[in-house]
């Protein structure tokens, strides 16, 4: 049972979590999925808690997903984003942290362009801090929802072969997935242009494919990352067209695979660049399941960090909805 699993104050990354903790989050997310299917999508688990969504980087998708999760657990939420706030006026993270502390809030969900920003904040305020993506470091809830989606579709992660394809160098999604998948017993590979594969990634315990055909030959699951347009301008890849030709996940490439491959993408997609529309909308794509699971996983994380007990998650959602 998961009843004895303890959680710390914060969720800054999956590197520091144990397999038991990760499994507990995924298990708690399961019953929460059902809440989103109800007519009245609200339970009182976090009633009276104040959560600040502190977004230094624009990210509609992640912010909205967190906001839904918070509201469905009845928390009070405030959004602070880069435009139209002190974040724009150059207030630094230390001062922002002190101000938040002074306002006696309960939780902060932070998205920041610098690696380590979530940890930096977590060390300086008593509130729970949830990392919604820090620089190129980690994006733990994205990896959790990816893992939940794989588990839903394939039953278990142990022994599964997952290849992350694309810009690994700049990807926090890749790093969180690598830690999480390895802890749950999956085999992990990365594949992308060598300019976008970080030095020493093999030391983390993953294999590296330079050619996407080899990755497709090997993998049961492909997690296709978004190629940021700015990577082309910075000279990591010559052009988007060429990227699509060499690394794009197309039907033609998948047809040569020795098995059906589950396709994930953290979004937003560049159709026709890293992934072709036929694949994105095809029968093995679980990209929309990921979006649905995102809310459930974030509800689970919020619930557990707020002190909720894993074995009471089922009960929590049964409580009266008044």
């Amino acid at each position: 049972m998961t009843a004895t699993v303890e959680f710390g104050k914060d969720l800054t990354g999956l590197e520091r979590l144990t397999a038991e903790q990760i499994t507990a989050i995924l298990d708690v997310a399961e019953p929460f999925k059902e809440i989103s299917e109800r007519q009245i999508k609200k339970v009182p688990a976090l009633r009276g808690k104040t959560i600040v969504n502190l977004f230094y980087e624009p990210s509609t998708r992640t912010r909205v997903s967190f906001e839904f999760a918070e509201k469905r657990l009845s928390a009070d939420t405030v959004n602070i984003s880069r435009s139209g706030s002190s974040l724009q006026k150059g207030e630094n993270l230390v001062d922002t942290a002190r101000n938040l502390e002074a306002m006696r809030i309960d939780m902060v969900v932070i998205r920041h362009q610098s690696s380590g920003a979530a940890e930096f904040l977590a060390q300086r305020i008593p509130s729970n801090v949830i990392n919604a993506g820090d620089g190129q470091h980690e994006h733990p809830t994205q990896a959790l929802l990816d893992m939940l989606t794989i588990r839903d579709n394939l039953g278990s992660l142990a022994g599964r072969r997952v290849c992350i394809v694309g810009d690994i160098l700049h990807s926090r999604v890749a790093r969180s997935n690598i830690w999480g998948l390895l802890k749950l017993g999956a085999e992990v590979a990365v594949c992308g242009p060598p300019t976008l594969i970080p030095h020493g990634v093999g030391d983390l315990g993953v294999r590296v494919f330079k050619r996407v055909e080899e990755a497709i030959e090997w993998a049961e699951i492909l997690n296709v990352l978004r190629l940021q347009l700015e990577r082309m301008h910075a000279g990591y890849v010559p052009s988007l067209r060429e990227y699509n030709r060499v690394f794009g996940i197309s039907e033609a490439r998948l047809e040569k695979a020795p098995r059906d491959i589950l396709i994930l993408h953290p979004g937003p997609m560049n159709r026709g660049v890293e992934i072709d529309s036929h694949v994105a909308d095809g029968p093995h794509s679980v990209i929309l399941d990921q979006v649905t699971n995102g809310v459930a996983v974030r509800m689970a994380v919020l619930y557990l960090l707020a002190g909720g007990s894993p074995d009471r998650a089922e009960a929590a959602k049964q409580e009266d909805r008044s």
Binding site: E15, N92, L93, V94, H112, Q113, S114, S115, G116, A117, E119, F120, D134, G135, Q136, H137, E138, R172, R175, P198, H199, G200, V201, D203, L204
Partner: protein, 445 residues
């Protein structure tokens, strides 16, 4: 003028004379008058008992950033010089990347005057290689030397234009001074903030590859070979550049090199937790690089230890790793760290350590220091090689608190520092009090 001082009974370490023996040392008129066993005290002499302690030529640091002018919130020449003597350094070479930079004779004169007024360590200005440190037009190097500069450097930045480096290594031969090179290929460093490797990958921080240093060290050695100029490579951090310097020396190239205590002691693992006190340029490297620079220091491929003392205001470090300033302070921890890593680690004996911290650096910068020969300046450090102490940044004389050794136990500590025979730092009272306290508590117990 004060009277003669007789320093009695210390273990005297003088690499210049290959001396390691218990001796007395007589200081008259700020200079060393006599060094011998059991010198009878002259009538009017002040006698100082140093039995059980080591005495050596004061340490020489050829690479410090004292921040004045322009960065007085980080450090001043006076606070930096007080940190120097607290660390046993009696001579320091101040890098020119201040605001404005030390690129004209008046600026050189300013640094000298400030240093003299502080009356602590001797402060020797390093002039800029290029006007405004912009890497374009060579400074009036002859004027800088005439005003008192002892070397030239664009440190903080590399001299990225190979043609300018060539001209500097040619022109400086008139004055027989070295060019101090911060060897870095900025194209390879990119936006990097730490060593490139498994740790940078795990932390999601942009990496600086070893090749960024190796390429530049190789280029500089080749230009030194071409020109016959005197090249000094600052802060060697990689196995590759140590190898390149070894090969260049074997070919007779006039190249010397330094390594910092932090590169001798720490790897990039120290960055974990996004510790901005472990952020500097060049970055902390891998364990095999640390082993290689230690070997190179032992073999003499790397000639000396220099701190690259780089104080910053705490706000410049108390922030996201990407945005934090590069640099760490080092003057007050250099002895403790170097002695712990190199002497207790069994790689150097004390005499060799003093050679790397006093005699060799003095030779590189051409300073009247690093020796206890008759008539030499009485620039002296007295230290206890066995004293264990906790590194407390809040007790530093430096305005900078940015050290990766915070909270760490160090071994070997300065007890007293003399410049020109005058005491500029003295912990004997504090040590006597500590002993008395221990004694009392023992008696009570």
């Amino acid at each position: 003028m004060s009277g003669p001082r007789l320093l009695q009974g210390a273990r005297v370490l003088d690499p210049a004379q290959r001396l390691d023996a218990v001796m007395d040392l007589l200081v008259v008129d700020g200079a060393i008058a006599r060094l011998a066993p059991a010198i009878p005290a002259p009538e009017n002499a002040e006698v100082i008992d140093l039995s059980g302690l080591c005495l050596s030529p004061g340490f020489v640091d050829v690479h410090v950033h004292l921040r004045e002018p322009g960065g007085e919130h980080k450090e001043t020449i006076e606070s930096g010089a007080s940190a120097a003597v607290a660390g046993g350094f009696t001579s320091v070479c101040a890098m020119p990347n201040t605001d404005p930079p030390i690129d004209d004779p008046a600026a050189v004169g300013f640094v000298l005057a400030k240093g003299e007024r502080a009356r602590l360590a001797r402060v020797y200005p390093v002039g800029a290689v290029s006007v405004g440190l912009e890497g374009k037009e060579m400074t009036e190097i002859g004027e800088l030397i005439a005003a008192g500069a002892v070397a030239v450097s664009d440190d903080g930045h590399p001299v990225w234009d190979s043609g300018l480096m060539r001209r500097a290594l040619e022109y400086t031969q008139v004055f027989d001074i070295p060019v101090f090179s911060h060897a870095e290929d900025q194209g390879l460093s990119g936006q990097g903030v730490m060593n490139e490797g498994a740790v940078s990958t795990a932390l999601g921080l942009r990496g600086i590859p070893n090749a960024s240093e190796d390429v530049a060290v190789a280029r500089d050695c080749l230009i030194a070979e071409l020109t016959g100029g005197r090249l000094h490579i600052c802060h060697v951090s990689t196995a590759g550049s140590a190898e390149i310097i070894r090969a260049a020396k074997a070919r007779g190239v006039r190249v010397t090199a330094e390594v910092t205590p932090h590169h001798l002691a720490l790897t990039d693992e120290a960055v974990r937790g996004y510790r901005t006190d472990a952020k500097m340029s060049p970055p902390l490297r891998s364990a095999s690089d640390v082993a290689a620079v230690r070997d190179a220091l032992v073999e003499g491929v790397i000639d000396c230890i220099a701190t690259d003392h780089a104080p910053h205001h705490y706000e410049e470090k108390e922030r996201e790793f990407d945005d934090a300033a590069f640099g760490v302070v080092g003057l007050e921890t250099a002895l403790g760290v170097s002695l712990q890593e190199m002497v207790l680690g069994g790689r150097l004996d004390l005499l060799e350590l003093v050679d790397r911290m006093a005699s060799k650096p003095a030779q590189i910068a051409g300073l009247p220091a690093g020796s206890l020969a008759d008539g030499a300046n009485a620039d002296i450090v007295v230290f206890d090689p066995e004293e264990r102490w906790e590194c407390r940044a809040d007790r530093f004389c430096s305005r900078g608190r940015n050290t990766p050794f915070k909270g760490r136990e160090l071994v070997g500590r300065v007890v007293m520092t003399l410049v020109g025979g005058r005491t500029v730092y003295d912990r004997r009272g504090e040590r006597a009090d500590a002993r008395a306290t221990v004694k009392v508590s023992e008696d009570v117990g």
